[in-house]
């Protein structure tokens, strides 16, 4: 691999092998087989689990079925986080396939949002893109797009059409050459051990004196704990799309290449495995 375009493809076509098992307390007519699926890292759980639902409904009575939700080792999985993020955050260092438990009852109202239809996902996805563009270009690019262009972004994600999506998304990734980057980098930093869902701040890719900000600079500013000093052993892993980029990676490059389709850079800070 020698080219940045390959990074985009690798990011887009990242898949997590997953084993869906029905929660033991669910009432079934006969025993439910686990269901195996390759989940796109950049998509959303509820968008890609129609097959899972169909599979389990075959063994269940209609009256026992409410809204489907998922947990991993007891943690309810938020569908509005990209799948790759959920995996990195909760299951990075566990064995594959990722074992997800499927529920059809006792929806955890406090932890999860309802997802009655794909249009809810679309609305969430589009609002993320708009928020990201507000940070990157004062919303100028997204507002210049037509309705059909917005649709193209969504359809690209929904149907896993890399070219279709990027034909439009590249416009969101452009910036004036003389500025050297976006206005602000749309990012979110997630911490497993914190009560806050995530950290989000205004952060520029280039400092006022022309210095290129790196991932390390961002963490120093936003969450210095994540950086271990030289003399201590690594306490945290900083994970994006299942990899740990070096701290000197330019933030602008990360934003252009390792952002999710919602145009945010989702960064997980997780405790380093203590082996």
């Amino acid at each position: 691999m020698a080219d940045d375009k390959d990074v985009l493809r690798d990011v887009w076509f990242g898949r997590i092998p997953t084993c869906f098992t029905l929660y033991q307390d669910e009432i079934t007519e006969r025993e439910a087989e686990p269901f195996y699926l390759l989940l796109p890292r950049v998509s959303y759980l509820t968008l890609v689990t129609d097959k899972v639902k169909k599979h389990f409904l075959k063994v269940m009575k209609a009256e026992d079925v409410e809204e489907m939700w998922f947990d991993f080792e007891g943690t309810p999985l938020k569908w509005h986080y990209p799948i790759g993020l959920l995996f990195d955050l909760h299951a990075s260092n566990t064995a594959l396939p990722w074992s997800i438990t499927v529920h059809f009852k006792n929806f955890p109202e406090r932890d999860l949002l309802h997802c009655p239809s794909n249009s809810v996902i679309e609305a969430h996805f589009m609002s993320s893109i708009k928020e990201a563009d507000a940070l990157k270009h004062k919303s100028q690019v997204i507002n210049d797009m037509q309705k059909k262009d917005h649709k193209q972004l969504w359809m690209g994600l929904q149907n896993d059409k890399f070219d279709q999506f990027w034909a439009m998304n590249r416009k969101l990734m452009e910036y004036p050459t003389e500025e050297g980057g976006f206005r602000y980098i749309p990012f979110r930093i997630y911490l497993t051990m914190s009560d806050r869902p995530f950290i989000q701040k205004l952060f520029r890719p280039i400092s006022s004196d022309g210095y290129t900000h790196t991932l390390g600079d961002l963490l120093k500013e936003v969450y210095p704990m994540a950086i271990s000093s030289d003399d201590e052993s690594k306490r945290y892993q900083v994970v994006i799309h299942g990899i740990e980029p070096l701290l000197e990676t330019p933030l602008q490059w990360l934003s252009e290449h390792l952002s999710h389709p919602d145009n945010f850079l989702h960064i997980s800070v997780i405790p380093a495995p203590s082996d």
Binding site: A2, D3, K5, V7, R15, L38, D160, R170, G210, P245
Partner: protein, 1085 residues
């Protein structure tokens, strides 16, 4: 952007230059003298030193400045001595010039100055009109002057031969003193100001320059005879004046302004190609009646001035018809002086802090720019000069600058001054007053008016500006350089240039950028490598063992629709509105594929046309001055020579479609990323660059892939010719002769997003000329007028005369091009012109000649207008020598550091051999000049390092003994051209050599063997050939004209020679490929 230099002189008289890539001022070390002023152009820099002499610093180049001296030896036959130097009394000299009118023995030739040296001794020229003469170079005739032939006949009574000797300018990269002599002895008074320019007045190859100088007494002098072969010029000519001048400025073109002592300005008028000195002066009032002008600076189309109160003024309404302009506009900022450089960019030295300022935002539409920005970079010698300053401060303790400035005098080398050994100080305008406590001080400058007074008293007033700053100041004085003069005449920046001059924070960390282009540092950065590695690890970890899992999302069809105009297939052909759709779906192996639909109405009936994406062979943008059009070819349509021609409503829409279609086509054929090393490269006549990935079956026998099925896709950039080899080294030459090397990236231009890489894409510009013709017919009453016969062509037309082309209605070739100059007469047209650019003929259309004869009833002249394209592509410039042809060895080097032979011809006709070209450094390091007796035009190197070249006179040459040890070979062997044909272009394969002559005939060289690499004779292969390219396996590709299509004959078709076999190197027949896209050659590998 090539590296170029901004020159400046500080108040100590030290000369510095700042590179457009650099981040610090580099001191010009070999300047032994202090300098007062410098004026730079791209190839050299002139300066006035403190001894008041003028010095010239010619920048060294890989191509030396050489001048060919020639003389003729004449002999007459007599029965006694046979041919001897005993001539008749009525005959010419025994040694003469070509006309025979001047006596020129060999020992009458001298070097013009000590800055020249002889390259070798005199030798006989054995080349006669493109053919070798043998027989010691003698050519024979019946009598002088007559037509000479190379063969002796029974009636040959006289003979002559040509002797040549080269001299070379040796004083490069050093300050060479120019003797200050006018045509009538030494000049009476020393120079005070100097300005160089005028290179745009005549055509480039001659390289003429105008140099204007002002003496201390206010006289103006013009330096005669400066051109490429004579960088020093001949001598000074005084220019008469309406007053006394203080300062003068000369632009690249015909703009020359000067400032008078009284504060008015004068403008030179009547500057033309034939009269670069101009004819008269016109006075223009100072912008401010109270404060006269003290300084003026002119560019192509701008004039800036500074008045005595240091206010800066911009002159409105300057153009080539009105060099006087129309009015002054006051600008913000107080400056000591202003200088206008290339592209009308402006520099100034601020009155307040003596820093060099750059005018930001100067564009051709906004010539006055936006704001001043300080050039804020350190000097290379800051530490060194610090110490020297402190040592000199021992002598001048108690001297202060800024308000309490003291000046310290310095010793001068010039001892003939009346002021004794202590020299005075002169610096315009900056120092209102200076405190004269410093004992050795004799003169002080108090602005120009003050100097004027001094000058009157002491005629030979010397004027070295030398201030020393006191070290007692809290901050080291050298923290802040104080500048006296700046010259940007050689500094090629424009408003798009990325300069590192304004940000000193990073200045010292990266001072010099390496010229090697192969791998950019960003590409190899550890963080990037880490991401690449981790991503592939991740894929392995998360996906490799789970491929049998079901995918969560099933693939489906995706459609993009739009409206377009279509050049319909049936007559009458015209643009009709159509709906256009691309349906994309995943193919059986997961690859993308698609179908194009074009829905149209025919007789009220809805119909459609379709094309499979995987059958599209090329997508070409087509030049059209009003519509945004492109053409889609498939194999079938290539055979018919009738593509699908489409026009989009806007440029953006066309680019969107082209980018999308291009990606789809590449996807459907599994092409991703940069072109492979074996790729075939070509450029269209429009300048677009295309590559084709060769399939293994391309050369299979007996059924190679037909040309019309080859798939070409575009990469960014704009080139006139491209050359590649099988190692992936690719060079291109633009229409403006700029040289570009392929960077390994892909994309650029309209290709965005996925179809391009993010690295290795750079801005690329190209300049070409649009030509129109002014036609006139003679009538007995009024002579030549623009009133033609009713049957005549348009009086303003294109070359064919069929299309009306006036100055006003002629547009640039496409909306991407913008005009960058005004219409100008083109004197460089073949056939020659008279002084006004006219060419004469008996009638339209015939052949034209450059002088009027009695039989001529019509005349025409060509007007040219430059236009410029700015685009992006995977190309980086190889400065500084412009080229007209380039060739790379088709195969060879296997290791990445092994040198790859690359030869080229400069646009002046010099043959060059590039050193240091390797896989790692495809741009190479430097040029090695290979001497020739005449300019060359085409060159080609074959698989076994055979170098063949074509001279401008149409003869062929073979270069002997080219090896890895001696990359430039040892001598040229003259190969006679086919009878009565002037050769045009040559291409060499592994063993075979093909040439094309001026009439489009393709010739094959017979009898080439290792022992006789020159071969024996030419064999005719084909006609209607425009260009030939022979591959490393002796594959032959041509660009042919007049290939039969379904609708018409087409021009510029790529054809492949079939049946080329080791035993049959000539092949059998042609296979006709793409066209009429006008593909011009590439070296197939």
């Amino acid at each position: 952007m090539p590296v170029s230099l901004l020159w400046a002189v500080d108040v100590y008289g030290r000369v510095y230059s700042l590179s457009t890539r650099g981040q610090q001022w580099e001191q010009c070390r070999d300047a032994v003298l202090e300098f007062k002023r410098v004026t730079a152009v791209q190839q050299c820099c002139w300066g006035i030193a403190c001894d008041h002499h003028i010095y010239l610093n010619v920048h060294s180049s890989d191509v030396p400045i050489r001048y060919q001296e020639e003389t003729f030896e004449n002999q007459r036959w007599n029965p006694l001595d046979n041919f001897s130097d005993r001539l008749l009394p009525s005959d010419r000299w025994q040694w003469s010039n070509i006309t025979g009118l001047e006596h020129q023995p060999l020992d009458s030739f001298f070097l013009p100055s000590s800055n020249w040296e002889w390259e070798g001794d005199w030798y006989i020229d054995e080349n006669f009109g493109g053919e070798p003469t043998e027989k010691e170079g003698w050519t024979y005739a019946i009598d002088f002057p007559a037509t000479y032939t190379k063969d002796k006949k029974w009636n040959s009574c006289v003979r002559r031969r040509r002797w040549i000797r080269y001299r070379r300018y040796k004083a490069t990269d050093t300050w060479a003193k120019i003797p200050s002599e006018g045509h009538s002895g030494p000049l009476p008074d020393p120079f005070n100001d100097i300005s160089c320019g005028g290179w745009e007045i005549s055509e480039e190859p001659r390289g003429r320059l105008s140099l204007w100088a002002v003496s201390l007494q206010g006289k103006v002098w013009f330096r005669e005879g400066i051109h490429h072969h004579s960088p020093e010029g001949d001598g000074w000519e005084e220019v008469s004046l309406p007053g006394e001048v203080v300062q003068i400025s000369c632009g690249p073109g015909d703009l020359v302004w000067a400032v008078l002592w009284e504060g008015q300005l004068i403008v030179r008028e009547g500057i033309t190609r034939d009269c670069p000195r101009g004819s008269s002066w016109v006075v223009v009032d100072s912008p401010n009646p109270e404060a006269g002008a003290i300084h003026v600076a002119v560019g192509d189309n701008v004039v800036w001035a500074v008045t005595k109160d240091n206010k800066v003024w911009y002159r409105r309404g300057i153009n080539s018809y009105n060099p006087r302009g129309s009015g002054w506009i006051g600008m913000i900022g107080e400056m000591v002086m202003i200088n206008v450089g290339l592209n009308d960019q402006v520099w100034g030295i601020s009155c307040e802090d003596r820093a060099v300022y750059f005018r930001q935002g100067v564009t051709s539409s906004e010539l006055s720019g936006k704001a001043w920005k300080a050039v804020n970079v350190p000097r290379d010698g800051d530490i060194r000069s610090h110490s020297s300053a402190s040592s000199s401060s021992l002598h001048s303790a108690g001297c202060f600058f800024s308000g309490e400035v003291r000046a310290q005098s310095v010793m001068s080398e010039d001892s003939d001054t009346k002021n004794g050994p202590q020299r005075a100080v002169l610096e315009e305008a900056s120092l209102r007053e200076a405190d004269a406590k410093s004992p050795p001080l004799t003169h002080l400058a108090v602005g120009p008016a003050g100097v004027r007074g001094d000058a009157a008293d002491t005629c030979s007033l010397s004027s070295v500006a030398t201030y020393t700053l006191c070290q007692e100041e809290p901050y080291g004085a050298d923290e802040h350089p104080l500048w006296a003069w700046v010259s940007g005449g050689g500094c090629g920046v424009d408003c798009h240039s990325q300069l590192n001059w304004f940000n000193s924070a990073t200045a010292l960390s990266s001072s010099v950028q390496s010229m090697s282009l192969s791998i950019s540092p960003a590409q190899t950065a550890a963080w990037r490598k880490q991401i690449f590695e981790q991503l592939s690890e991740r894929s392995k970890r998360e996906m490799d063992n789970f491929k049998h899992y079901e995918q969560a999302i099933e693939q489906s069809v995706w459609v993009k629709k739009g409206t377009m105009q279509w050049w319909r297939d049936w007559k009458p052909h015209k643009w009709v509105d159509v709906r256009f759709a691309l349906e994309q779906f995943s193919g059986p192996e997961g690859n993308q594929d698609g179908i194009l639909f074009l829905y149209y109405n025919f007789n009220e009936e809805k119909k459609y046309l379709h094309a499979f994406i995987n059958e599209v062979t090329i997508l070409v943008p087509v030049l059209n001055d009003s519509k945004h059009t492109f053409a889609i070819y498939t194999a079938e349509r290539t055979k018919q020579r009738w593509p699908i021609r489409l026009a989009a409503a806007t440029e953006l829409e066309m680019h969107d479609w082209l980018a999308l279609l291009s990606v789809s086509c590449c996807d459907s054929r599994g092409i991703q990323g940069p072109p492979s090393k074996q790729a075939l490269w070509s450029v269209t006549c429009k300048g677009d660059v295309f590559v084709c990935e060769p399939s293994p079956s391309l050369e299979t026998c007996p059924y190679p892939t037909p040309c019309d099925q080859m798939f070409w896709h575009q990469v960014g950039g704009h080139l006139r010719l491209v050359e590649s080899n099988s190692l992936g080294v690719v060079w291109g030459v633009g229409y403006d002769h700029t040289v570009w090397v392929y960077t390994g990236g892909y994309g650029g231009g309209f290709l965005q997003g996925l179809a391009r890489s993010t690295d290795n894409i750079y801005t690329q510009t190209d300049v070409k000329c649009v030509y129109i013709y002014e036609n006139q017919r003679w009538n007995p009453v009024t002579g030549y007028t623009n009133r033609g016969l009713p049957t005549d062509r348009y009086m303003w037309s294109d070359a064919t005369g069929l299309q009306e082309c006036t100055k006003a209605n002629t547009k640039p070739p496409s909306p991407h091009w913008t005009w960058v100059a005004d219409w100008a007469i083109d004197y460089g047209i073949s056939g020659g012109t008279d002084r006004e650019g006219w060419q004469y003929a008996a009638d339209f259309p015939t052949s034209y000649h450059g002088h009027k004869t009695l039989k001529d009833f019509v005349r025409r002249r060509r007007w040219a207008r430059k236009c410029k394209l700015t685009t992006t592509g995977p190309w980086q410039e190889v400065p500084p020598i412009p080229l007209s042809d380039v060739t790379i060895i088709p195969c060879g080097a296997q290791s990445i550091v092994e040198p790859i032979p690359l030869w080229a011809i400069s646009n002046k006709g010099d043959v060059l051999c590039r050193l240091g070209v390797t896989l790692l450094t495809p741009a190479g390091t430097s040029w090695l000049h290979v001497g020739t007796d005449q300019p060359f035009k085409s060159i080609s190197i074959g698989g076994a390092s055979q170098v063949w070249a074509i001279a401008r006179d149409g003869s062929a040459f073979y270069r002997g003994s080219v090896t890895a040890q001696s990359p430039s070979g040892d001598c040229w062997y003259h190969i006679p051209s086919p009878v009565r044909q002037k050769l045009q272009q040559v291409s060499v394969g592994r063993t075979s050599v093909y040439t094309v002559d001026q009439h489009g005939n393709l010739w094959f060289r017979q009898g080439l063997t290792p022992s006789c690499p020159q071969g024996s004779s030419w064999e005719h292969i084909s006609n209607n050939v425009r260009k030939v390219s022979v591959g490393p396996l002796d594959q032959v590709w041509i660009i042919a004209d007049k290939v039969q299509g379904s609708h018409s004959l087409s021009c510029g078709t790529v054809c492949h020679r079939l049946g080329v076999q080791p035993m049959e190197p000539k092949g059998q027949s042609w296979d006709y490929g793409i066209g009429p896209t006008h593909v011009t050659g590439s070296r197939h590998t």
